[in-house]
C-alpha cells in the first residue's frame, strides 16, 4: 500500500515536471525539473515533516490538544535550566551541562587543532603523514570508541587506577565518569576535525601578506599576532562552531561515560526510551537541543559567507611562510606531542583491548571475545554463524550499502540543481538540503519516531526507516562535495552538451558524473562509513530484527561487557579502512589528460 502510494506520488511528480518544463521552467529541462520536484518533496517529507512533528509533540497536551501552558512548563522545566550547581551540591540543568561541555570542548579542540595545524604547515617536522592519518580517524571511528578506550585507561579497573592503587594505595574510583571523562573523550574525538578545518585556514594565509608585515619592520611574533591571527579569525570561529556542534550532538560518549552528568542528547533518549516514556518532555528537550545546534549553524553560515579570510587567489603566491619563533615552536610541541602520544594509546587500546580476557583483572591474551561476537561453526546444516554480532553486522552493512549510494546520488543531484540551475526558492532548497547536517542525530531520531510510527507513513521497526534516515542525514556531505567539485567544472561544458541535443540526464551521466568522480567517491565513502558508525539517530529506530553494529556495541558497554564491545569496534574500524580502499579502487580516478582540467578554463 505504501509502495503503491509512493509510486503514484512519483508519477504525479513526473507529470507535473513535464507540464512545468513545457512552460519553459528551468530552461525547459524535464530532468532538472523532475529532480528538483522530487528532492524538494523528499526533503519536505523526510526532513521538515519529522521536525515539525517534534514541535507538535512538544505543544500537545494530554488527548492531543494544543496545550500552551504545558509547552511552556516543559520548555522551562527546572531539570533543563536550573543553576543549582553553582550554589549547592546538586547538579545543574541539562541545558547548562550541554552548553558548558560544548564550550570547553570547542575551545579545546580549536586550540589543539590550531597547534597541530601550525606544526604541520609551518615547521619542518615530518608530520604530513601523521596529519593524513589524523584526517581519516574521526571518519572511520564510531565516536564512542574513544569513550570506551578512555574507560579502559582511566575507568575503575583501568590502567591509571591500577597504577595508583599498586603504587600509592589509592582505592579505584569512578572519577572519570561525568564531565572530566566526557571532556577528555570529546577532545580526542573532535580535535582531528578542528585540525582538518584549520589546516586549510593556516595554509590560506598568504605568505606575501606576512612578508609585507615583515618588510614593514614587524618582529615575527608581532606579525603573527597582528597579521596572521586576524586573517585566521573567521577560520578559527568556524572550527570553534564545528567543535561546538559536534559536542552537543555527541550521543555515544555521554551514554558510555556520562555517569550522572546528563546532557541534552542522552536526556532526550532517556525521556523517550526508558521507563519515563514522555513524548512531550522528549520533544521539548529536542527543541532546546535543536535551537542550540541551529543557532551555531546559522552563526557558522554567516561567518563563512563573509570569507574575508581567503587570501588565496588565482595568482601564484610564491612567498615563504613566516617561520615561527623558536619559543613558540617549543610550546606547540609541548602541547602536541603528548596529545599525539595519548591519541596513539587511545586508538591502540581500541584496537588491542579486544584481545585481553578481562580488562583490569585478567590480562591474558585471548580471542574469546572475537569468537563470542564472530564465531563461525561448521555444522551438519552448513556454516553456522554462531557469533552474537553477526546479525547486527549484516544489518549495518546491508542498510549502509543501500543508503550510501542513495545519499550520494541525492546529494550530488541536489548540488547539481543548486549550482547549475536558477529557480525561485533556491535559498530555501539549499537550507533544506543542508539542514539535516545541523540537526543532532538524537533530534532526528525522535523526529522520525514521532513522524513515522503511525499512518499515513508507517515505517518504524523496518529497515527502510533506517535507510531513509541515513540517506537524509548524510545527504549534505554529497551536496557539499558536489558543490565544491562543480565549482571547478566550467558551466560551458554542460551548456555545450545541451546545445548538442543532450537532455539534463544525459549531461549529468556522460559529462558531469565522469568529471566529479572524486566527489562521488567522497560521498560514497563518507556516506557508507558514517552510516556504519552512526549511533544517535538509529538508536531510536532499531527494532529486534534491525539491530545495528553500533547499537549492539553500546548495549554491550552498558552491560559492562567491554571485551566484546572493544573487539567489535576494532573489527568495524578495520572493516571501514578496507571499504575505503575498495571503493577508491572501484571508482578509480578521473581519466583526463595531465592538464585536462586546465585546458577548459
Amino acid at each position: 500500500m505504501l509502495a503503491f502510494s509512493a509510486l503514484l506520488t512519483f508519477v504525479l511528480v513526473l507529470l507535473a515536471a513535464e507540464a512545468l518544463a513545457r512552460r519553459g521552467a528551468l530552461r525547459g529541462d524535464r530532468f532538472a525539473v523532475a529532480s528538483l520536484l522530487t528532492i524538494a518533496l523528499l526533503v519536505a517529507v523526510f526532513v521538515f515533516l519529522p521536525l515539525s512533528k517534534v514541535m507538535a509533540a512538544a505543544v500537545q497536551g494530554a488527548g492531543g490538544r494544543i496545550d500552551l501552558p504545558a509547552f511552556a512548563s516543559r520548555l522551562t522545566a527546572e531539570k533543563i535550566w536550573t543553576l543549582a550547581c553553582l550554589s549547592s551540591a546538586r547538579s545543574c540543568g541539562v541545558a547548562w551541562n550541554t552548553l558548558a561541555l560544548a564550550l570547553i570542548t570547542a575551545a579545546g579542540t580549536t586550540l589543539l587543532g590550531l597547534v597541530l595545524a601550525l606544526l604541520v604547515t609551518r615547521t619542518a617536522l615530518p608530520l604530513r603523514r601523521v596529519a593524513r592519518l589524523l584526517a581519516v580517524l574521526p571518519v572511520i571511528t564510531p565516536p564512542f570508541v574513544i569513550g570506551l578506550a578512555i574507560i579502559l585507561i582511566c575507568g575503575r579497573s583501568g590502567l591509571i587506577n591500577a597504577l595508583l592503587e599498586t603504587w600509592l594505595g589509592v582505592p579505584p574510583s569512578r572519577w572519570i565518569y561525568g564531565l572530566p571523562g566526557l571532556l577528555l573523550a570529546q577532545l580526542f574525538a573532535f580535535t582531528p576535525i578542528a585540525f582538518l578545518v584549520l589546516i586549510g585556514v593556516v595554509e590560506g594565509v598568504s605568505p606575501t601578506l606576512e612578508e609585507a608585515g615583515q618588510t614593514l619592520g614587524g618582529r615575527s611574533i608581532h606579525v603573527l599576532r597582528t597579521v596572521s591571527l586576524p586573517l585566521m579569525a573567521p577560520g578559527l570561529a568556524n572550527a570553534f562552531l564545528v567543535g561546538f556542534v559536534e559536542s552537543i550532538a555527541d550521543f555515544g560518549n555521554p551514554l558510555v561515560l556520562g555517569g550522572s552528568f546528563n546532557v541534552l542528547a542522552t536526556e532526550v533518549y532517556f525521556a523517550l526510551v526508558g521507563a519515563q516514556y514522555d513524548q512531550g518532555r522528549a520533544a521539548a528537550l529536542a527543541i532546546v537541543l535543536l535551537a542550540m545546534a541551529l543557532g551555531a549553524f546559522l552563526v557558522q553560515q554567516r561567518v563563512l559567507s563573509g570569507r574575508a579570510f581567503t587570501s588565496v587567489t588565482g595568482k601564484g603566491d610564491a612567498g615563504i611562510p613566516l617561520p615561527l619563533p623558536r619559543g613558540l615552536v617549543r610550546t606547540l610541541q609541548a602541547v602536541a606531542f603528548p596529545w599525539l602520544a595519548f591519541t596513539i594509546v587511545v586508538y591502540g587500546m581500541a584496537l588491542a583491548g579486544g584481545f585481553v580476557a578481562i580488562w583490569g583483572r585478567d590480562h591474558s591474551l585471548t580471542l574469546r571475545h572475537f569468537v563470542k561476537a564472530f564465531g563461525v561453526e561448521w555444522g551438519p546444516a552448513g556454516w553456522l554463524w554462531t557469533g552474537g554480532a553477526w546479525n547486527s553486522l549484516w544489518n549495518t552493512l546491508r542498510l549502509s550499502a543501500v543508503a550510501a549510494p542513495l545519499s550520494a546520488a541525492v546529494g550530488l543531484l541536489a548540488a547539481y540543481l543548486l549550482h547549475r540551475t536558477r529557480f525561485a526558492g533556491r535559498r530555501a532548497f539549499e537550507f533544506g538540503t543542508l539542514l539535516s547536517f545541523a540537526v543532532p542525530g538524537t533530534v532526528i531520531g525522535i523526529a522520525y519516531v514521532l513522524a513515522f510510527n503511525a499512518p499515513p507513513i508507517e515505517l518504524t521497526g523496518s529497515g527502510l526507516i533506517i535507510v531513509i534516515c541515513l540517506v537524509f542525514r548524510n545527504m549534505p556531505v554529497g551536496v557539499r562535495g558536489g558543490l565544491a567539485s562543480l565549482e571547478q567544472i566550467d558551466r560551458s561544458l554542460d551548456e555545450a552538451s545541451s546545445t548538442l541535443g543532450a537532455g539534463g540526464f544525459t549531461t549529468v551521466r556522460r559529462v558531469l558524473l565522469p568529471l566529479v568522480k572524486p566527489a562521488l567517491v567522497g560521498a560514497l565513502v563518507y556516506g557508507f562509513v558514517r552510516s556504519v558508525t552512526t549511533v544517535s539517530a538509529v538508536i531510536f529506530l532499531i527494532s529486534g530484527d534491525t539491530d545495528m553494529a553500533t547499537t549492539y556495541i553500546i548495549g554491550r558497554v552498558v552491560n559492562g561487557d567491554y571485551g566484546v564491545a572493544i573487539a567489535y569496534s576494532a573489527v568495524l574500524i578495520v572493516l571501514m579502512v578496507a571499504v575505503i580502499v575498495v571503493i577508491q579502487r572501484l571508482v578509480g580516478v578521473r581519466a583526463v589528460g595531465a592538464r585536462g582540467a586546465e585546458s577548459v578554463p
Binding site: A21, R22, R23, G24, R27, G28, D29, R30, D490, S492, L493, E495, A496, S497, S498, T499, L500, G501, A502, G503, T506, R510, V511, P514, L515, R590, A591, V592, G593, A594, R595, G596, A597, E598, S599, V600, P601
Partner: protein
C-alpha cells in the same frame, strides 16, 4: 547539410534582477548568411546569442528558428549548435567521442555517430587526431574540434561566441577565413559574436552593433564602416574622431561642411544647414609639412605601429587621431591636415 534556417528575434528582452541586459532586440538572420553581433563587453551580445541557443530564457519576446517559435524550448530541443569561447570540449572524452557526442545524445547508434564524427573531423582537417584527448591538442586544433562538434549535427543555425579570442594573432586570421569559407560552402546560417571590429568586418554579411543591451545600428560591413549614422558606431567600428562641424549649404546630394575652418563637400544625409557632428576616420586625415593649405595642427604624440604611424594631433577642433604612412613627423612638429571626404560622415 540540412537546409539552413532563418533566425528571428522579436522584441527580445532579458532582465537579470531588475536591470535589462538585453532590451527589446529584434532582428532577422536570413538563411545562409553570417551576421555578427558586435559591441563592447557587457553590451548584451553574448546574452542574445545564449537566448538563441536556449541557454537563457528571454524575459519577454520571442525567438524563432526556421519560422518555428522555440522560446520555451530547451537548448537540447533546438536545431542550433554553439561554438563556445572556451571551446568547452569534454576533457574526459577523445576527439572522436567529443564530436560523436551530439549524434549519440540524439539517439544515433554508436557506429553511425562515429562515422559522422569522422566526416566532420575531415571537414575541418583533423583526420588522424580521433584518439587524442583535448588536452593533447593545440589551441587551434581544439577550436576545430569544437567546430566539427557543432557541424556534425547539421544545425539549422550555427552560433559562435568569440571563437577566436583564445588564439594567437596569426592563427586568428586563418581560422577566421576558414570559418567564413566553410559557412559559404555549406550555406550555413551563422550568428557570430565578437568585440573585435576587424574580425566583424572581415567575416560578416551583416553587422549588428549593440550597446547597453540595444541595437545601435545594423547593415553590411562597408556601409557601416563608411557611412555610420551614429557616433557610437563611427567610434567603435572605425575609431573615428568626433568633431563639431557646421553644414553651410546644400548642393543637390552633397553639402558643404565646415570643419575647423576648413570646408569639405560631403553627402548631405538629408540634413538642414546648421550645427552637425562629424566623424572623421583616422585614415582620412593626411598630414603635410607646415605651410600647405589645410587645418593647422601640432603633433602631440607619435607611435610607430608597424605599417603606419599613429599620431595624436592638437587642432582647433580638439585632439585628433590620424593614421598615416610615409613622411614621419616628430612630436612638437607643426603640421597641416587635409581631409579625404570619403572618410568623413555626419553622425547623430
Amino acid at each position: 547539410m540540412s537546409a539552413a534556417g532563418t533566425i528571428e528575434l522579436r522584441s527580445v528582452t532579458k532582465r537579470f534582477g531588475g536591470a535589462a541586459v538585453v532590451d527589446r532586440v529584434s532582428f532577422t538572420v536570413e538563411a545562409g548568411t553570417l551576421v555578427t553581433l558586435l559591441g563592447p563587453s557587457g553590451c548584451g551580445k553574448t546574452t542574445t546569442l545564449r537566448m538563441i541557443a536556449g541557454l537563457e530564457t528571454p524575459s519577454e519576446g520571442q525567438v524563432l528558428i526556421g519560422g518555428r517559435d522555440v522560446t520555451a524550448r530547451a537548448a537540447s530541443e533546438r536545431n542550433v549548435s554553439l561554438v563556445f569561447q572556451s571551446y568547452a570540449l569534454f576533457p574526459h572524452l577523445t576527439v572522436l567521442d567529443n564530436v560523436a557526442y551530439g549524434p549519440r545524445a540524439r539517439g544515433a547508434r554508436s557506429a553511425d555517430a562515429h562515422a559522422r564524427a569522422r566526416d566532420a573531423l575531415a571537414l575541418v582537417g583533423l583526420s588522424g587526431f580521433e584518439g587524442r584527448l583535448p588536452a593533447q591538442l593545440s589551441g587551434g586544433q581544439q577550436q576545430r574540434v569544437a567546430l566539427a562538434r557543432a557541424l556534425v549535427l547539421e544545425p539549422g543555425a550555427l552560433l559562435f561566441d568569440e571563437p577566436l579570442s583564445n588564439l594567437d594573432a596569426r592563427l586568428r586570421r586563418r581560422v577566421r577565413d576558414e570559418i567564413r569559407a566553410l559557412q559559404r560552402r555549406l550555406g550555413l546560417s551563422v550568428v557570430y559574436v565578437t568585440h573585435d571590429r576587424e574580425e566583424a568586418l572581415a567575416v560578416s554579411d551583416r553587422i549588428i552593433v549593440m550597446d547597453h543591451g540595444r541595437i545601435v545600428e545594423e547593415g553590411p560591413p562597408i556601409e557601416l564602416f563608411e557611412s555610420p549614422r551614429t557616433r557610437f558606431v563611427a567610434e567603435f567600428l572605425a575609431e573615428a574622431n568626433i568633431v563639431p562641424g557646421r553644414l553651410l549649404a546644400a548642393h543637390g546630394d552633397g553639402a558643404d561642411v565646415e570643419i575647423a575652418g576648413h570646408v569639405v563637400r560631403l553627402p548631405r544625409c538629408g540634413r538642414a544647414p546648421g550645427e552637425v557632428t562629424v566623424a572623421i576616420r583616422p585614415d582620412a586625415i593626411t598630414l603635410h609639412a607646415e605651410g600647405d593649405a589645410g587645418i593647422a595642427g601640432r603633433v602631440l604624440r607619435a607611435a610607430f605601429v608597424g605599417r603606419a604611424v599613429e599620431y595624436a594631433i592638437e587642432t582647433s577642433a580638439g585632439e585628433l587621431l590620424a593614421i598615416a604612412s610615409g613622411t614621419a613627423f616628430v612630436p612638437g612638429a607643426s603640421v597641416s591636415l587635409s581631409l579625404l571626404p570619403s572618410g568623413i560622415a555626419l553622425v547623430d
